[in-house]
Symmetry: C2
Subunit: 150 residues, 2 copies
DNA sequence: AATTTGGTGTTACGCTATAACATGCCACGT
DNA sequence: ACGTGGCATGTTATAGCGTAACACCAAATT
């Protein structure tokens, strides 16, 4: 993402937080900025490394707490199979989403398919299960790597 | 699972491996047995601990290599959001499956819904993505914990 | 017999995540 | 202004998950 878009996204996040009485503090804002800057999912320790470039030595809890906040407010998603974090593509409308992850280059795309969301929710309901969170990730090869393979 | 069923499952696994020219060695068989014995997903280090009770000190690679084999042959599944391993409920028919995991008690159920499998595969295809592996996990509250909460 | 292959043992290390406690900051009621 | 309670952050230590690299051995292949 380019600088211009990042600023816009940060402003929007700021507004959303204010509306909810939540505080997008400098640390949290900076972590979100770092995640927005990368087009691929970023690991917690990579974020920590970047954070430290500005503020000297910091411990993992600092970044994990910021991540916890950003996750709670759905400003970012966690990609479970990569143990990494990615900016949400539509923070105005909290949602469940799905991810396509390339095993070759790591490219990760956020998708939204209501059919899958509903199927999974219904599947749980039928069993008396109250689904709170969905993790749906498809791993494989992206179009680019797919054609490069041959 | 009770001892009787475990033996049956192990025998079936043995047959399947032989058919494929794969070797279900003592270590691998033992790890599978441990996973079958637990009705909840088991972590690699818990398995390692059990393994050591019989064979003295062993390192993590021993158990991770066994897990790698069992996963490759679809005798077990990995529950990504728990970093734990669970026996497959139908090893005769390799498949993609989904999991319902209780955040409260850890109870984990393997489901099979072809609709979700197909939706996700098609979703990938539409984007030129070749889906090799699906991770579909729903976290929430199981029926028991749900009623216990009130 | 020599070579190859696959499985295991061993050591060491890296990455991911959290517990526990200390410190600092700010809003609020007095 | 003062104290206080709540929240965010800093700090240290440790737990949990996973793999690289190399050594060894036994069975299969030549
Ligand atoms: Zn999103
Ligand atoms: Zn790719
Ligand atoms: Zn299964
Ligand atoms: Zn439960």
């Amino acid at each position: 993402m380019i600088a211009r878009q990042i600023e816009t996204a940060l402003s929007r996040a700021q507004v959303i937080c204010k509306r909810r009485g939540a505080r997008l503090t400098p640390v949290r804002r900076r972590v979100l900025e770092l995640i927005l800057s990368s087009d691929q999912p970023t690991g917690a320790y990579a974020l920590l490394g970047e954070l430290q470039r500005g503020r000297g030595k910091l411990g993992p809890p600092t970044v994990y707490r910021a991540l916890e906040f950003l996750l709670a407010h759905k400003l970012i998603h966690k990609v479970e199979t990569s143990s990494a974090f990615i900016a949400c593509a539509d923070i105005e409308h909290p949602h469940e989403s799905q991810f396509m992850i390339c095993d070759d280059c790591g490219a990760t795309e956020e998708l939204r398919d209501e059919e899958i969301v509903e199927s999974l929710r219904r599947l749980g309901e039928r069993r008396g299960f109250a689904v709170e969170r969905q993790v749906v990730e498809a791993r494989g090869l992206c179009p680019a790597c797919r054609s490069a393979q041959r």
